[in-house]
Structures are given as C-alpha cells and as structure tokens.
Symmetry: C2
Subunit: 243 residues, 2 copies
C-alpha cells in the first residue's frame, strides 16, 4: 500500500509552504508545459488523481469543465481543498489511488500531477484509468524524472570548475527509494521511462508526448536560482491517448 | 552533414577490435534485448540503416528475409561487409543516411543499431523511413542513451564508498557533443528521450517500446566488469509501428 506522507504533520506543514501550495498552478514552474499537453476541457468530465489542494480542479472548472472529480488519499489536503472550493461542478473523494475505481467510460480526461511516483501498483491504477476514460479520452500526468529518483544518495555534485552535476546510479534497479524531503523517510517508486511506457502501452494507451521537463532559458533568466534544474530534468510529463 | 568518423583510419582500426566487430551480434550485449523487439523477418524486406560490417544483414538473411538492404556511409566498413557476405538476398549501398531515400512502401522493417546518434537531421531521416515502410511496418533501433551523451565531460565518478555514479549535466541542452572515443573529436548528437518520441510521433510512428538498456543481473554475473553499466543505461532501444 502506498505511503500517505501528506498526512504526516511535519510533511504537511512543510509542503503547505512550497510556492505551489501557496500560489497554486502559477507557483509550479512545470505547469505551462503540462498545460500545453492538455486537451480543451470545456464541457468535459475531468478526473484529477492526487488532487491535493484542488488547484487543478478549480482551474478546470474555470475553463468550463462539466464535472471535475478530485481524488486524494490525504484528508488534510482535501479539508483545505473543500474549504477553498465553491464551484458546484467540483467534487472531492478521499481514496487510496491504488484502490479507487471510477465508473467505466465516465471521464474525458484523467490528469495527475506529481502523484504516480508514490504508487506501488501503477499497472493496476492505469488499468482503472483506462477503463474510466471514454474512447478518444486522454491521460496527462507528471511524475518525478527517474534521473531524480534513481540515486541511492540524491544530491548535487559540484566539479572543480563549480558546475553542478547530478550523479546517477541505481538507474536500472527499480523500486522504492526513501529520501528525506520535507520529512524523513518519504518513499517514492523509482521507475525508468521505459517502464512507464511499457505500463502505459500495456494498459492500452498510445503515448503521444514525453517531456523531460526543466525550466526554459526564459524561466531561468527570470529565476536564476533554477539554473541547475536544466542540468538534469526534475520532472517527466507524459500525454497519452486512450484509443 | 553528419561526420563520417568510421572512415577515419585510427577510429576504424580501434572500432574493428571491439567485441562487436570481432564477434558480431553475439559480441553486442544489448543484442538479445534488441532482437526481442524485432518482428519475424522471414519472407520480409529489411532495411539496415548504418549496417557497418553487415552482421545484422547476414543474421536477417539467415532468418529467411526475402531481401536485405544495408546502408552505410563508411566505405571501409562496406568493403569488409561485402567481402564477408555471400548471401544473394543482401545488397549494400554506400550513402549518407541523411540523404538516402528508399522507394515508398518498399520495406517491412527498418532497423538501425547505434547510428542515429550521429544523425543531425533526424526528422528528415525518420520521414524517409516512414515513407519507405509499408503500413504495418516497424522501425526498431538503438542509440546512445541521453544520460550517456548529455555531460560536458563524460565519465564515472566514484564516491567515498567506492560506488560508481555517472554525473549528469547539460541534459536539456541538446545538440552536438564531441568526445574522444576510439579517436579524438567523435561528434554525436545529444537528444532527450522526449525529443526522440516527439520526432517519431511527428513522423507518423506509434512508439510501442522503449528499453533503457543495461546488462541484466545474469549478464553481470557472467561479466562482472559490466556491473557499472547497470548504474546508468548506456543505450536506448526503441520499437515503433508505422500504422
């Protein structure tokens, strides 16, 4: 069963102070790239897997989505999401993503931001998502890039000239990685891009886009402190069709 | 125009002594994984882009391929390929892969081993390959993994505990990389996996498999000197359908 670190008080307290928790989608530098992978949502039924504080659900409602369901395992996150949501077309459901099953063919778009790296049984989740989508539906998600999650000891190395690099090892040994990020012992699943593609194709999806995301040169010009994130991509964004 | 390093005498001399040049496909540890991505070739027309010494062409002929065309820019490699090939169904063509165009719909399988990382205009090559394949045809190829090609200074870093890691930087800055491998100043094109997928989908292919290849634990047991290759994948193998 997937760890529910978001209901850990220390983690929740620290996570709540991240720019993406304070400023929402505009505080997430990968959001413009992820948004570019989305189909129009006006009039569509949208599923958000790992909806957190509900920022994307409210964005989708503002874009005219017919119905938005946000699912998250964290009661703390959903409590804030509900408190900040007035839109009648949005509903929230507290559920373990590994056990959640939607009605077949009930959604046009499944979306997930930085949640699937917590999921142990991703094949099972993708089978459920595939069944929940209508033919012609789409799955768009982000996850930590495997270059990020691979190393036994994750961190930057600075060479003699002062240039940062990200030492990679353990890349082909998939499975859980425990790191101290916002709290001690946060467990994420390390999977290669090849495995993501294999699981998606195996579930019946056609992979249409892979974006190994880092800040654009323009974003680095505006935020010089992000420069190292171009040395290795922190996130992997993927878009798939459900034929 | 793509560099033709294989006709550099020093490079050719050193390349000719690699296990994959002496022992052929059996000397290439990624071959079992690449072979697993291939469709049956018996009775089929096969194109080998960057055929080198012709090992794959002869393998395909032994599998019963109807016709095999090996294309390579290197006159030295083709001279040896021709000298070692007796099969009437195999022909070789000396051509720059960036300028080669096959007759439309003339092949069932396009194959390429460790050649596309030399290609500057990969979009153009993929458009030609797509046109050369029949509907239902396949493209299967290997290339250096971008984790390999990204760094400004490619090489292992050993941590205090003696574990090797591969420092990655420059991953999002695509373009040529000059390295000293078998000869000085060998130029390869660094592209992200996302860019490979984008070029393939843009050319009309459906990506069905991505294998970030390193030796299996069984291969490492037989060849302990390969162990570090599991820390980061040296090669990227991809299979695509031409719908």
């Amino acid at each position: 069963m997937t760890q529910n670190i978001y209901d850990n008080p220390e983690f929740f307290q620290n996570y709540s102070q991240l720019p993406r928790s304070v400023d929402g989608l505009d505080g997430a530098p990968e959001w413009p790239s992820l948004r570019a992978l989305l189909p129009p949502v006006a009039g569509r039924n949208v599923l958000d897997l790992g909806c957190g504080f509900g920022w994307f659900c409210r964005w989708a409602a503002r874009q005219g989505a017919a119905r938005v369901l946000g699912v998250d395992v964290s009661e703390r996150m959903l409590a804030r999401a509900r408190a900040e949501t007035g839109e009648a077309e949005i509903s929230y459901l507290q559920a373990d993503l590994e056990r959640f099953e939607a009605s077949p063919g009930s959604f046009d778009l499944a979306y997930s931001s930085l949640a699937v790296h917590y999921i142990e049984n991703l094949a099972g989740l993708l089978a459920n998502v595939h069944a929940a989508l209508v033919p012609g539906g789409k799955l768009v998600f982000s996850t930590e890039h495997p270059i990020m999650t691979a190393p036994a000891n994750q961190g930057w190395h600075t060479d003699a000239a002062g240039r940062p690099s990200w030492p990679v090892n353990g890349y082909l040994d998939e499975g859980p990685r425990s790191t101290d990020w916002l709290a001690k012992g946060v467990v994420k699943q390390h999977r290669t891009i090849g495995t993501y593609v294999g699981l998606l194709v195996g579930a019946g999806f056609a992979v249409t886009h892979i974006c190994e995301w880092g800040p654009s040169p323009e974003q680095v010009a505006a935020h010089p402190e992000w420069a190292a994130e171009r040395e290795r991509p922190p996130f992997l964004l993927m878009a798939c069709d459900r034929p």
